[in-house]
């Protein structure tokens, strides 16, 4: 399907605008620790504490990659009001998925695989919700399912530093603090590796990127 020119312009303008704003407020700088920027199709998985997370992450990508990288977001949250719906679908081009198995009208895996097969890269938050604690929550299964269904797509961990303080859950105005996004080495399931084992290993890989962790308490 050919994309409507105006919608595309709106999306690219919003993308550039929000990335610029994120840089202005947080001075964000990418730290390419285990992975380099590349044109390969990727799934970035990151810790999640704030609505600003995916804006910050996409601000760190080269523009051409930014335009093909779509955040995966919760349909139950982003479809609640017409404004949220507009922001999620028109401005940020989110892949909206149903979180609760009971309430599902559509299959979240199908939506994400569709986006991947359409050539997009994805940003996913495997904790499944904005986390207000200090340690990331256990990862949900989607990451493993995507990895086994599309083994050619790289799974890159991205640790987002400080965003939980810039824009905590429940606030709508950001406080300027310096942020970094640390990109780590890609992970993939070993032959015969179990779901839980892989998810825990992916979570460890993400946690290991926290710059404060090596600095100690």
């Amino acid at each position: 399907m050919r994309e409507h020119g105006f919608k595309r312009l709106l999306r690219h303008t919003a993308g550039a605008g929000f990335s610029g704003l994120a840089r202005l407020v947080t001075g964000v700088r990418p730290v390419w620790q285990g992975a380099a920027p590349s044109g390969r199709q990727r799934i970035f998985f990151a810790n999640h504490a704030s609505h600003g997370d995916f804006i910050l992450l996409s601000a760190c990508l080269p523009p051409s990659e930014r335009y093909r990288t779509r955040p995966v977001a919760a349909a139950d949250y982003w479809e609640k009001t017409p404004l949220r719906r507009f922001v999620a679908t028109e401005l940020f081009d989110c892949v909206l998925v149903e979180r609760e198995a009971g309430a599902r009208a559509s299959d979240p895996m199908a939506a994400m695989l569709d986006a991947l097969d359409g050539g997009s890269s994805l940003i996913i938050f495997p904790e499944g919700t904005r986390n207000t604690g200090t340690e990331p929550l256990p990862f949900r299964s989607g990451l493993y399912n995507l990895a086994t269904a599309r083994p050619h797509v790289e799974l890159v961990p991205a640790f987002i530093e400080n965003m939980s303080r810039v824009l905590p859950k429940g606030e709508f105005l950001p406080v300027p603090l310096l942020c970094r996004v640390v990109f780590g080495e890609a992970v993939k399931p070993e032959k015969g590796e179990e779901r839980r084992a892989f998810l825990d290993r992916a979570r460890e890989a993400l946690l290991a990127l926290d710059p404060r962790r090596e600095a100690g308490p």
Binding site: G27, R165, P168, G170, V175, P176, L177, L178, A215, G216
Partner: protein, 309 residues
């Protein structure tokens, strides 16, 4: 342009050109890449940019200087808060510091409302910040959080706003020339920092405070401060003082600047970082460059108010 500003700019150009030439020569002579020399080169290039910004603002006038320091306060505060402890309950306080306190403090400088300028942060903000924070009901580390926020605002906003405030000092016989005072302060304090670095590299042996800053030595500290005091004496024509008065003031402010650098080092060491940020190539963050000015500016301002007015 006055004769004073002409000589000042010519002097700056001369020193920076000489520094660039020396650095290039050292790098040519070095065998292979040398991180210390590369850092020196980056530092000197950043000095060209910073000196140009300061000179441009001073030539443009009080409005530009005030805006420049409001921006420096913003950048410094952002670096400070990045390393401070805060909880979600502090969100409105932190936001208020950026969107209200910085603009109001610099507006008070611009409108020359001296009475409120001196008490706005130490009295009004001092009381209202904890009052706003307590309404959110989170008592964890309450005093610690509030104290850190207040310290950050005093250092990064209140103290720094004394630099453009120099332009508002009605010193008899010195009207219209106050921009030279800003130049004097910046040259002596930053010069003291550079001279301490040079003296330390040349003669440094005895550690000054090894647990705070392993690279600082007594030889660097005393040599730098002494050289900066003499520099200040040589620049007495930028101030309302004679050569001896300028020597005394320069000694005082370069000492304060050096102590400010040491205090900043202690905070960074406690937070386990080397620099406040990465904004200025070779130097680190904005606060790494301004820590001396934070401690020297209010003292310089009040010495002038007491002795020159």
């Amino acid at each position: 342009m006055t004769a004073e500003s002409f000589w000042l700019i010519a002097g700056l150009l001369l020193v920076l050109t000489a520094a660039s030439l020396v650095s290039t020569a050292l790098q040519r002579r070095a065998l292979g890449p040398n991180p210390t020399l590369e850092n020196l080169d980056a530092r000197i290039r950043a000095w060209w940019v910073m000196a140009s910004l300061a000179v441009a603002a001073l030539l443009l006038g009080a409005g530009a200087v005030t805006l420049l320091f409001a921006l420096i306060s913003f950048l410094a505060l952002r670096e400070f808060f990045t390393l401070s402890v805060s909880r979600p309950a502090d969100h409105w306080v932190l936001l208020g510091v950026f969107v209200l306190i910085i603009p109001i403090q610099y507006w008070l400088v611009w409108t020359e409302w001296y009475g409120l300028f001196t008490i706005f942060i130490p009295v009004w903000c001092f009381l209202f910040m904890p009052a706003l924070a307590v309404l959110r009901g989170d008592t964890t580390n309450f005093l610690h959080r509030i104290a850190e926020t207040q310290w950050a605002v005093m250092a990064c906003v209140y103290a720094l706003s004394h630099v453009p405030a120099l332009l508002t000092l009605p010193i008899p016989g010195f009207e219209g020339k106050q921009a030279l005072l800003v130049a004097f302060l910046l040259v002596v304090v930053q010069g003291s920092d550079v001279l301490q670095y040079i003296a330390g590299k040349l003669w440094g042996r005895r550690k000054l405070a090894p647990s705070v800053s392993p690279s600082k030595t007594w030889e660097g500290f005393l040599g730098g401060v002494a050289a900066a005091s003499l520099l200040g004496m040589a620049l007495f024509w930028l101030t309302p003082f004679g050569p001896l008065g300028a020597l005394g003031v320069a000694l005082f402010i370069s000492l304060m600047g050096a102590l400010g650098g040491l205090v900043a080092s202690a905070i960074k060491r406690d937070r386990r970082v080397k620099d406040w940020g990465q904004m200025i190539e070779g130097h680190g963050g904005v606060l790494d460059r301004m820590d001396g000015v934070v401690f020297a500016a209010p003292v310089f301002f009040h010495l002038l108010r007491y002795f020159a007015m």
